[in-house]
């Protein structure tokens, strides 16, 4: 890659080539339609994967691009999930508007928290996100009159999507819905990361001192991306509620925050597709391994995680990219 890129000196051409859709991307998105044909009995799992992928995408925006490590991102997922559930429980089961409200409420929570987040770095920041996540879990646990507590939120019932498509038992509507939302928000994230703002986020990740020295408004950038990320996580949570018609405390627990971090690190942070690939691997592995042994299915995930961070520091996608690059430079 380095050899090729340095040969192209025109700055416009080079950046345009970077932002253009690659055929692999097109192939990837076409492949997301395969479950409809190949594994129609697994569409519920496919929709859970799409939702998890969206959640991982939201984390990638703050972690992969701006370098903000979070151990409490489930707070926004859970906030969106409960918001979507409560709206439905209180009598408004229209999915799209429910999802918008879930996004908005998670965005408000994210915006408020971003004022704290933007002030800290490193270990303090990680502990801060962890603390906020635990706080929200206990609030959801304690407020059982509102959330149903450990029993979960009962009485969620969704109206048909667009008034036409009922959420069926096979997950046909659920996967279609989750996939379209994932794709639209992926397009938005892709646009964001290719913008001047996306460049500024990478600058924050790379060197905050240098950002100050070029007069950058880093804190305001962090607040913006944190709010956007929270909104997307809220959409993912809302989707889970709407497609499963239940909300359990699991939407907001520490396990979910940890899982999504593992997923992103497995797939490769900072390249948008990392969270998507990671979600597929993680969810399929969980489905398969828990079929073999429901208690110890984290064991192989742990082995995989250790292997990836040892040998592929930029995740599976980072490893693949390096492989392609070395293959290309050899063939030249």
């Amino acid at each position: 890659m380095a050899v090729m890129s340095s040969a192209v000196t025109n700055p416009h051409q080079f950046l345009q080539a970077q932002n253009r859709w690659h055929w692999i991307e097109v192939a990837f998105w076409l492949a997301t339609l395969l479950p409809f044909v190949l594994t129609p009995s697994y569409l519920s799992l496919a929709s859970q994967i799409a939702i998890t992928a969206l959640f991982a995408l939201s984390l990638d925006l703050i972690l992969g691009y701006a370098g903000i490590v979070s151990l409490g991102h489930a707070a926004f997922f859970g906030f969106g999930a409960y918001t979507a559930g409560l709206i439905s429980k209180w009598g408004w089961g229209e999915p799209l508007s429910g999802l918008l409200i879930a996004a908005f409420s998670a965005a408000v929570l994210g915006y408020l928290m971003s004022f704290i987040i933007a002030r800290f770095r490193h270990l303090t920041l990680i502990m801060m996100t962890l603390g906020l996540g635990l706080l929200l879990f206990e609030v959801a646990n304690k407020a059982s009159w509102l959330t149903g507590g450990a029993d979960g939120l009962q009485g969620v019932h969704m109206w048909p999507l667009l008034g036409m498509f009922r959420f069926d038992l096979y997950g046909y509507t659920a996967y279609t819905y989750a996939l379209i939302v994932l794709f639209l928000l992926f397009l938005l994230s892709r646009r964001l990361t290719n913008s001047p703002f996306g460049l500024a986020l990478r600058g924050i990740r790379e060197n905050l001192t240098r950002m100050r020295a070029i007069g950058a408004t880093s804190r305001s950038h962090i607040r913006t991306v944190y709010t956007i990320s929270a909104a997307i996580a809220g959409v993912a949570g809302g989707l889970l509620t709407q497609t499963t018609e239940t909300v359990s405390l699991g939407v907001v627990d520490f396990q979910r925050s940890a899982d999504v971090l593992v997923i992103l690190v497995l797939g490769g942070a900072g390249r948008l597709y990392g969270g998507l690939i990671g979600a597929i691997i993680f969810m399929v592995a969980r489905d398969q391994f828990s079929g073999i042994n429901p208690q110890y299915w984290y064991f192989p995930i742990g082995v995989l995680l250790i292997a990836v961070v040892m040998f592929l520091p930029n995740g599976i996608l980072g490893g693949l990219a390096r492989l392609v690059a070395s293959w290309r430079s050899r063939s030249q």
Binding site: L192, L199, A200, A213
Partner: protein
């Protein structure tokens, strides 16, 4: 005499009992090339940190033109035209040189908040970034990640990032630090060719370069300004000789 572009009044800074700046008074007119010299530990970098807001003075005031900037954060000072480079490379390792300079231009123009337009839509920003890189001989490597650039090229990129902010005052902290003497000519050519609208204050240890580039020299010792004058005055000053020759055996 018009107002100096950058001035300080009675700046003091202590780290505990260690005095790192004492009663610093400077006044830099527009377009002048100032060298800041002095033995190690004299407080040269501390003074740059105070002026740029990376450190807060205990006492004293800093003015950019007529405006007092003592309480402003470093970013706000940069946006007003007070810009520095670092003695130790402080760059974006995984951004290409072009991306880094483009980012600096975007921040200056206020475009960096825009997240719905692709960077490729900003033709004039890219052109400006590319022309800055061209002027510093970095155009051939502009699409390489910063971490892959040669050390001397990274020093030039330090200056490129500073120029992208369109400084009024440029503070260069040992711009050629670590660059072998025979390779530093590109760097000093770049500093010589800076616009005469920019006021430059640079820290440098090589006296040949100081006397070649500077129109005025400030000598610091022990956190204080010892003397300020033209290169000829400084060369003839017995106190400066005392500091440099008398202190030489301390290393």
């Amino acid at each position: 005499m018009s107002t100096p572009v950058l001035s300080t009044r009675g700046l003091d800074k202590n780290f505990g009992s260690l005095v790192v700046a004492k009663d610093i008074e400077i006044a830099l007119p527009k377009g002048v090339r100032y060298a800041l010299i002095g033995p190690n530990g004299a407080g040269k970098t501390t003074l740059i940190n105070l002026i740029t807001g990376m450190l807060q003075p205990d006492v004293g005031q800093i003015f950019l033109g007529d405006e007092e900037i003592t309480r402003l954060g470093p970013e706000q000072r940069v946006r007003r035209g007070l810009v520095r480079t670092f003695q130790i490379n402080t760059l974006f390792p995984n951004l290409t040189a072009l991306e880094a300079v483009t980012l600096a231009v975007c921040e200056r123009r206020g475009d960096a908040k825009t997240w719905w337009r692709p960077i490729t839509a900003y033709g004039e920003v890219l052109d400006e970034a590319y022309s800055i890189l061209t002027s510093l001989l970095l155009a051939p490597v502009c699409n390489r990640p910063t971490r892959e650039l040669a050390y001397g090229q990274q020093r030039l990129l330090e200056i490129a990032l500073a120029l992208a902010t369109r400084p009024k005052v440029l503070l260069l902290d040992e711009p050629a630090a670590g660059v072998p003497r025979d390779e530093s000519s590109e760097l000093f050519a770049a500093i010589t060719s800076l616009s005469q609208d920019i006021t430059v204050l640079f820290i440098e240890h090589d006296m040949n370069i100081v006397f070649k580039l500077a129109s005025r020299i400030i000598v610091m010792v022990g956190g204080r300004i010892l003397v300020e004058g033209t290169p000829a005055e400084i060369a003839a000053d017995p106190r400066v000789r005392e500091v440099y020759l008398g202190g030489a055996h301390h290393g």
